[in-house]
Structure formats: structure tokens, C-alpha cells
């Protein structure tokens, strides 16, 4: 891969990130309402509200004061203080929520990628076979279902009905200090949300992989491999599968970029304390600093994931570089 190609992509990514920072500032100030009104405390006098505005820097003009201040602080890693979670720095609040999201959505993506790709490859390879009919049908059903539609029956059956797993949350109150016991505890809480997220994601991977394999199956090199007398399974694994993976790189990269965003509905249904839930809370409170931080992280991670996809793609397919 040429250095020029890499350099061009890096510059593009940096420009995009800076544009996002600016857009991020404008976007939330276009929203109706303002944080100083969000408190709605009837006891506060006009003077007190004005003092509040000064405290949050809302008394200064949007441009240039608030904008310059915001860009400066963002570039130095200072994301300010949360308005909703009073007194807590935004970075602390966001980092606390990021771990659970990475665990849930990251693991969900991983399972979905493994199962989805395997299912899609098998479905496409033996088109019309049993695996295809069942697998593709199930994939389509789950692909079209929002997380809460998948999640609520899981809660009703496995938590409220069978009592196998907790309905929601991530840890039990008063959890043990023992690491193994803590892992067990998180594991118990993780099962149902993980199942919902994985089921929701498997469909997308499976359907695309199936189409890609079907296309690859007709390629000359597959025919050649057959002519050479290679075993069917070997042709799929060694020849068709790696080539069919190419379009998947984009999908995986984009999805991985959204890992940090969490799956808002899945997190809400299972009251999983991740970034998705935090986003909803921050929106309700018009918590500008928190919203800006969340959206910045999501946007930057998507840009980085796309950059990674570009680089991986150029490795896998030399035509892209030219």
C-alpha cells in the first residue's frame, strides 16, 4: 500500500472529524429549548437563572465565544461537566457508560459476525437447501425486528417466566468483591441482552454473506476447483469464502463504528447502563456537554472504522489503491 494513499485517507479522516466537531456544536443549539429552562424550578428568580447561565457559559454569544471555547476545550480533551449528572465531568460519565456498551454490543457483534457469516455462507453455498430455507427465513425475521421486540419476549420467557436470568441491569446490588463471582454476576445479566443484540445482528450479516457467496459460486476459479476434484467443503472454505468476504468488510467496519453508540432500544429494554441509555437521558435533560461528547465519540469512531475499512480493503483488493 502506498504512503500517498494512506496519507490521503488520514487527511480526509481528520478533516471529517473537525467538520463533525463544528457540526456537533451547531446541531444541539438548533434544538428547541435550552438547559437553563430544563430545570423549571419555580423558586428560582431571574437573577438566579442568569447566574446559572453564566455558570454554564450560556450567557456569552454563540459565536465566537461559545464556539471558540468549545473547540479549544474539545481539542484538549476537556469535555466539560454534565448538566444532568451534576458535578461530574462528562468524560467520567461517558467512560463509565462506554464499558458496558463495548461489552454488550462488541460481544454481540462478534457472535453475530461468526454465526451470521457461517450461516450466510452455508445458505448461499447450498441454495434452496434446508439450511438456506430455515436460516434465510429466520435471518429475515430477526433482521426486520427491532431489538425491543426481540428483547421483551426473552425477558418474559427466560426472566419473568423461567427465572433463569435477571430481567435487567448489569450487576446485582451488593455484589461480591471476588472477581470470579463478579464475572458470574455480569455473565448472568449479560445473557439476555446479548442474545437480543446477536439475534438482531445475525440477519444482516447472513443475508449479505449469502448473496455474496451465491455470486462467488459462479466464478471461474470455483469451477476450476471443482474440476480439480476438490472436496465441496474445501472449495467453500479455502476459495469461495475468502473472496466473498470482501463486501462484508465494509458492513463489519460500519457496524463496528457504531459499537460505541450502543443499541439504544436494546439498552433501554434491559436497562443496560451503556451509552445508548445515557444518550436518551442526556437528550431528555438537554445536557449539551454530555450530548456533544456522546455524538463526538460516535462520529469519530465511525470515521475511524471507515478509515480502517479503507486500509483493509486496499490490502485485500489492490484495485482500490489505483
Amino acid at each position: 500500500m502506498s504512503g500517498r494513499y494512506l496519507g490521503r485517507k488520514l487527511v480526509q479522516a481528520m478533516v471529517t472529524v473537525f467538520a463533525i466537531i463544528l457540526l456537533n456544536f451547531v446541531l444541539f443549539r438548533l434544538m428547541p429549548g435550552s438547559p437553563d429552562r430544563a430545570t423549571k424550578n419555580p423558586h428560582l428568580t431571574a437573577a438566579v437563572i442568569e447566574g446559572n447561565r453564566a455558570r454554564w457559559g450560556l450567557d456569552k454569544p454563540l459565536f465566537p465565544d461559545q464556539l471558540v471555547n468549545y473547540v479549544e476545550e474539545t481539542l484538549t480533551g476537556d469535555l466539560g461537566y454534565s448538566i444532568k449528572y451534576r458535578g461530574q465531568p462528562v468524560t467520567e460519565v461517558v467512560l463509565e457508560a462506554m464499558g458496558p456498551t463495548l461489552l454488550l454490543i462488541g460481544l454481540g457483534e462478534l457472535i453475530a459476525i461468526i454465526v451470521g457469516l457461517a450461516l450466510g455462507a452455508r445458505s448461499g453455498w447450498v441454495r434452496g437447501g434446508k439450511v438456506d430455507r430455515i436460516g434465510n427465513g429466520v435471518s429475515l425475521i430477526f433482521y426486520s425486528m427491532p431489538y425491543f421486540v426481540i428483547g421483551m419476549p426473552l425477558i418474559i420467557i427466560f426472566a419473568a417466566g423461567l427465572h433463569w436470568f435477571p430481567t435487567s441491569g448489569m450487576t446485582s446490588p451488593g455484589g461480591s468483591k471476588d472477581l470470579v463471582a463478579s464475572l458470574f454476576d455480569v455473565g448472568r445479566h449479560l445473557v439476555l441482552p446479548l442474545a437480543a443484540v446477536s439475534l438482531g445482528l445475525i440477519g444482516a450479516y447472513s443475508i449479505l454473506m449469502r448473496a455474496s457467496i451465491i455470486e462467488t459460486r459462479a466464478e471461474d476459479y470455483v469451477m476450476t476447483a471443482r474440476a480439480k476434484g476438490l472436496a465441496d467443503g474445501r472449495i467453500l472454505r479455502a476459495h469461495a469464502f475468502p473472496n466473498a468476504l470482501l463486501p462484508m468488510v465494509t458492513l463489519i467496519a460500519i457496524n463496528l463504528g457504531y459499537v460505541v453508540a450502543g443499541a439504544i432500544t436494546a439498552e433501554i429494554v434491559f436497562t443496560w447502563p451503556g451509552l445508548g441509555t445515557l444518550t436518551v437521558q442526556a437528550l431528555a435533560a438537554r445536557d449539551y456537554p454530555l450530548l456533544q461528547a456522546i455524538f463526538l465519540i460516535i462520529a469519530v469512531s465511525v470515521v475511524l472504522a471507515n478509515l480502517a475499512a479503507d486500509i483493509i480493503y486496499s490490502y485485500l483488493d489492490p484495485r482500490v489503491r489505483s
Binding site: 428547541p32 429549548g33 429552562r37 430544563a38 430545570t39 423549571k40 419555580p42 423558586h43 428560582l44 428568580t45 431571574a46 437573577a47 438566579v48 449528572y85 451534576r86 458535578g87 461530574q88 457508560a97 460481544l107 457472535i111 461468526i114 441454495r127 434452496g128 430455507r133 427465513g137 425475521i141 421483551m152 419476549p153 425477558i155 418474559i156 420467557i157 426472566a159 419473568a160 417466566g161 423461567l162 435477571p166 430481567t167 441491569g169 450487576t171 446490588p173 451488593g174 463471582a181 458470574f184 454476576d185 455473565g187 448472568r188 449479560l190 445473557v191 472454505r237 479455502a238 433501554i268 429494554v269 434491559f270 436497562t271 447502563p273 441509555t277 445515557l278 436518551v280 437521558q281 438537554r286
Partner: protein, 632 residues
């Protein structure tokens, strides 16, 4: 290549094995031996701060009230009861509180009047600076109580000097903080503290752990000196942010003992299983109202390019007539699902000591409303449109916030009823902030371009928390009717200095004045829909009698709970408050299902539906794909 594939295959297997083991571990999770007795309470709010001065949510009040005592607590009827102070003596200009000599904080340090002087001193310092502490919700209570000076002559005595002999000093909701921990903080610094767990308090339970977005855990205070001692060793508040569905499932699963704020459908479902659950429709301290834009009443002021669309709204006779055209009971039945009470005066019935029903109540009667409008000079034109005194057809703009789906339903009913009078209504929703800005008159830098606002208020233990919104000086801040009446202002000033029966009489006069003048049409008093399980804890008590056990004033009920399994036969559950069918409905035993019956029924329904969907989908898919497969 082959070996690489094998390694990859082994890796895949290992990963699946890991995932599988997580799941298996999940199923067979360990159960700790000799677990403490935990009372778990679910709510749809997410705790925003453990610093009492910074919370803005009901759940925040519940959390700090568990940890920190109030100087004067609330008894089961929400009347003053011993809290941090054991007793008190009221004289004309002061109250002398006595604190027991052997009192201790949860860390063993002595709890004395110095702690009260520190905590109330924070509020007084903020008031002196015309400022506030944190969110500014707690400290104004000290000002409203007329407290001018405080003294701590000895460790067991605290004296509060007041401007008048009123009882509001006993309802100050300022938590008593440990001076030995926070003493160095002034009122500004204390608002910046994060109050990280574990906290030291004098409440029945103290905050031991807070996981943002998940739960807050409170452990028993070994030095709690209150009368009762709850059966539970720990209290856990679990947060289900805007997610009643999962909260109800958690209640059914037995993860929760109490659920606060279920919706009316869930409430009815739980109500059907009286063996397992007790449901409580507790009267809320607030209402939902139509507020008429009366700007100019009592002041004669006008707004250039703003204000109401007709002067008729300034006419009490016009507003009174409209009051006959809203069917409050129908709104309770059809909008609230039967949970709540029809509204009348501006002190909710939950404040039993102060609420009065109107002397001249209005009843729903469209024909009477028409007659009253005719009599007041608002005639119909040839097109059956009601005209104001300037000869203009009356078309009213009704605005409401988009925070509650019920508002839209109410607006549709009101438009229909007013339409029968020949009065047009256009209704529209706004986000809360936009609506607040829209309502403000020139005194609040706005133009008050609306006719009717549909919204609600919730109050404090003292009726002044709601009555102040009708004062002339609230125009431009809290007033959403822009109502001004000197007679009302005088009565407010008078009752604020009164106590006992004298005050009650004045409050009754004020409630009737507002009812007759009708700047508001109080449509209904909302209900808090809560439910709790019967299998683990007994001794539940509604506070006050028409309220709910938790999320009310004080924390008495946490100290009253007993072991339900110790009771030989749990008796029939009793609904202590108004059921869906009307007031004072008590419900006897109902032949409910067995324990967990409701949950199992739902489970079976879901399983059956899932099987039907899968089999049906499979069959359809086979039909669609079969010919293609054959061709291939």
C-alpha cells in the same frame, strides 16, 4: 493451509465455548449463603445526584431522605413527627427544638444541634445572598417558613426564630448533614460535592453503593434511633428509566418487591392477581388544569402583538360558563383509565387538612353553559358561532406540552365540548421549553400569545407550594394564567401568618375564590399507580391514607415492614385508595390466581404465539420456495 484452518477452527471453538460458558454460568449463577434481607424498589426515574441539594427528581428525594433525617419528619398522615429533633415548643416568634443527648451518626459520631445549625445555616446563608444551593429546591423552604435566625445554645437545643407563628417551619425539607464531614463547606461548595457512597447519615438506611443508571443500595443504619425497625437489612432502589414494561416484568419475576409508577393497563393486570400483588392508586399532590390567559385582569394591562385572542377570557362569568362544559369524571374514566379523581379546587384532596370542595360546585351541563354564556352577553351568530362582546367569533388556541400522551386526548375532548357551545378550539402541542417561553407575558420577556394552556402542577406538603402561582407577583415567572387579584394576594399574606383552624378557614376562602373566579379549570387530580408483592414483606401502610407507601413524604414506611412469611395466612389484600370505579373504593378478597399465575399465563401466550409465528413462517416460506427448488 490445513493446519492454519485447524487452528482457526480451534479458535472459533474456543470462542464459542467461552460464550457458551458465560451463558451456562449465567444460568447456574452462584447464590451467596446467608444473604441479607433486601427490599428492592423499582422506579422509572434514574437517580441524578446523591447530593440532596442537586437532585431534581422524586427518586432523589427518596434517596436522600433514607440517608439523612429531616429536623421534623412526617407521620403516617403526613403530619409533623419526631425526626432529628425529638420534640419542639412553639411560641409566637420562635420554635425550640430538643434533640436527644445520646444520638449518633451512622459512623458513631455524636449527632447534635450543631449539625442542624450547620445544615439550616447553609440555607440561611444562601437566602441572605439572594442565591440558592445547587438546584435551589430545598433552601427556599426555610425562607417560606419565615425563618430569620437560628441558634444552638447547647448540643441538645436548636432554636429557629420566625416572622410568624405558622406551622410551615415543621415542613422544611432540608436534610440534616453531618457537620463533622461537610462542615468546611459553605453553601456554594456543598453544591459541588458529589456525595460519593458510602454516606454517613442519621436516617434509617444509608447510601452504601450507587451504580449510575442501575441501582442505589442502602444499608441499615446501626445507630438509627427512630421508633420502628424494618424487616429488611438493605433497601435497593432500582432504576428503569422510562421503561415500565421491564419494571413490571421484574416485579413479576420477584426481583422487585415494589414498583412505583406503572401504567394503567399494567395496573389493571396486576390488580387481577390479588393473591400475589397489592395495587395502590395513590392520590398525587397535584393536578392537571386548563389555565386561561387572563392577562390584564386586575391590572388593566395589554400586550402589543400578543396576549389572548379575545377579551372574553378576562371575564370571570365567561370562564365560569366554560367550567360547566368540561366533564371531569369523563376525563378520569376515559383518559386516565379510571385512576385519579375529578378536579375542583386548587388544593388537592391528598392534603386532607386543607382541601375543601367548592361551595358552589359546577356540574357538567352543556345547556346550562350555553345559558350562562347567553346571560353573560356572549351570543351566537347566524352560523352558530359564539361571539365575544366586540362581535368577533371566539376561536381559542389551546396549547399543551408533548410530555404526556394524555394531554392530547384531553385537548380533543375539550375541543369537542367547547365546540358544542359555538366556540372554536385549535389545539397544538409543544416541547416543554418552547411552551414555557410561549406562555410568558412582557414581565417575563414574552408576549403570552395563547388562550388556554393545558398542563399540570405538583406541590409540597404545604398548600402554599401550589397557591403561590395565583399571586400577582408571579406574572412573568410561575403564573400560567396571568391572574391577578388583590383580594387573593391579601388572603395569601394573611394565611401565611396564621396557623391551625384560622389558617384552614382562610385557605378555604382562597380555594373558593379561585374556583369561582375560574382562572383555572382543574380537570383532575392525578394518581400514582404503584404495586407491591405480598410474598416477602407485610406491614405496608399508605402515607397519607390516600397516598402510596413509598415516594411520598418521609420514609416512615421503610421502618414499618415486617416478614410476610411470619404471618400464618396472609389476609386478603385491601386497596386503601380510590380504585378505578370511584372514590373510597375498598376492595375485598378477589378470587385471584395463584402466586405467579399472571406471569405464567403471559409466558404461555408468548410461547404459543412464538410457535405459531415460527411454524407459520416456515410453512409460508416452504410454499414460496418449493417450486424454485424443484426447478433447480
Amino acid at each position: 493451509m490445513r493446519s492454519f484452518q485447524r487452528r482457526r477452527g480451534a479458535g472459533l471453538l474456543a470462542m464459542l465455548a467461552f460464550t457458551g460458558s458465560v451463558i451456562l454460568v449465567g444460568v447456574a449463577g452462584p447464590v451467596a449463603a446467608a444473604d441479607p434481607v433486601i427490599l428492592t424498589v423499582g422506579t422509572t426515574q434514574d437517580l441524578d445526584a446523591s447530593n440532596p441539594f442537586n437532585t431534581e427528581l422524586v427518586v432523589g428525594y427518596e434517596a436522600f431522605a433514607l440517608t439523612y433525617s429531616l429536623l421534623v419528619d412526617f407521620d403516617k398522615d403526613a403530619h409533623p413527627a419526631p425526626g432529628f429533633a425529638d420534640s419542639w415548643e412553639r411560641s409566637a416568634d420562635r420554635v425550640t427544638f430538643k434533640i436527644g443527648s445520646d444520638r449518633k451518626w451512622s459512623d458513631g459520631q455524636p449527632a447534635t444541634s450543631e449539625d442542624v445549625c450547620y445544615s439550616w445555616g447553609l440555607a440561611l446563608a444562601a437566602i441572605k445572598d439572594e442565591s440558592y444551593i445547587g438546584s435551589g429546591y430545598l433552601d427556599p423552604g426555610v425562607k417560606d417558613a419565615g425563618v430569620t435566625k437560628i441558634e444552638c445554645p447547647d448540643p441538645n437545643t436548636f432554636i429557629a426564630y420566625t416572622t410568624d407563628p405558622s406551622d410551615r417551619v415543621f415542613q422544611v425539607y432540608v436534610p440534616i448533614l453531618p457537620k463533622h464531614i461537610w462542615g468546611k463547606d459553605d453553601y456554594k461548595k456543598i453544591a459541588e460535592e458529589t456525595f460519593d457512597a458510602p454516606l454517613v447519615g442519621t436516617g434509617p438506611y444509608t447510601l452504601a453503593e450507587w451504580k449510575t443508571g442501575q441501582f442505589a443500595r442502602f444499608v441499615r443504619n446501626p445507630n438509627w434511633w427512630g421508633a420502628g425497625k424494618g424487616f429488611e437489612d438493605e433497601v435497593v432502589l432500582r432504576f428503569f428509566a422510562d421503561n415500565t414494561d421491564t419494571m413490571v416484568q421484574a416485579l413479576k419475576a420477584g426481583e422487585l418487591d415494589y414498583a412505583h409508577g406503572v401504567n394503567s393497563d399494567q395496573f389493571k393486570q396486576l390488580q387481577a392477581d390479588t393473591a400475589t400483588y397489592t395495587t395502590v392508586a395513590g392520590a398525587a399532590n397535584g393536578w392537571t388544569q386548563l389555565a386561561f390567559n387572563t392577562y390584564g385582569t386586575g391590572t388593566g394591562k395589554t400586550i402589543k402583538n400578543g396576549g389572548a385572542s379575545t377579551k372574553a377570557l378576562q371575564d370571570a362569568a365567561f370562564r365560569d360558563a366554560l367550567g360547566y362544559a368540561t366533564d371531569h369524571q369523563a376525563l378520569v374514566d376515559r383518559v386516565l383509565g379510571g385512576f385519579g379523581d375529578p378536579g375542583d379546587t386548587v388544593v388537592p384532596p391528598v392534603l386532607t387538612d386543607f382541601h375543601v370542595t367548592p361551595d358552589n360546585p359546577r356540574t357538567f351541563n352543556i345547556d346550562l353553559a350555553k345559558q350562562k354564556l347567553d346571560a353573560a352577553g356572549y351570543k351566537l351568530d347566524a352560523n352558530n358561532k359564539r361571539l365575544d362582546k366586540e362581535g368577533k367569533p371566539i376561536n381559542l388556541r389551546l396549547y399543551y406540552p408533548n410530555t404526556d400522551d394524555n394531554y392530547k386526548k384531553v385537548a380533543q375532548f375539550v375541543a369537542e365540548w367547547y365546540g358544542q357551545l359555538g366556540i372554536g378550539v385549535t389545539h397544538q402541542s409543544f416541547d416543554s421549553d418552547t411552551l414555557t417561553a410561549l406562555l410568558l407575558p412582557p414581565e417575563g420577556d414574552g408576549t403570552a400569545k395563547y388562550d388556554i394552556e393545558l398542563w399540570g402542577w405538583s406541590g409540597s406538603p404545604d398548600p402554599n407550594g401550589l397557591l403561590y402561582v395565583f399571586l400577582c407577583n408571579q406574572i412573568g415567572t410561575s403564573s400560567d394564567s396571568n391572574y391577578c387579584n388583590k383580594q387573593y394576594d391579601d388572603l395569601y399574606a394573611k394565611e401565611s401568618k396564621e396557623g391551625g383552624a384560622e389558617r384552614k378557614a382562610t385557605l378555604a376562602q382562597m380555594q373558593n375564590l379561585i374556583y369561582n373566579e375560574a382562572p383555572y379549570d382543574v380537570l383532575y387530580y392525578d394518581a400514582n399507580l404503584d404495586a407491591y408483592r405480598n410474598d416477602r414483606f407485610a406491614g405496608w401502610q399508605n402515607m397519607p391514607a390516600n397516598g402510596t407507601p413509598f415516594f411520598t413524604y418521609g420514609t416512615l414506611n421503610y421502618t414499618l415492614l415486617t416478614d410476610a412469611t411470619a404471618v400464618p395466612t396472609p389476609g386478603p389484600t385491601v386497596l386503601a385508595t380510590a380504585g378505578p370505579s370511584g372514590p373510597a373504593a375498598t376492595q375485598g378478597p378477589v378470587t385471584g390466581g395463584t402466586s405467579g399465575g399472571g406471569g405464567n399465563t403471559t409466558l404461555w401466550i408468548v410461547l404459543v404465539v412464538a410457535v405459531i409465528v415460527i411454524v407459520g413462517g416456515w410453512w409460508l416460506y416452504r410454499r414460496r420456495t418449493a417450486p424454485a427448488a424443484e426447478e433447480e
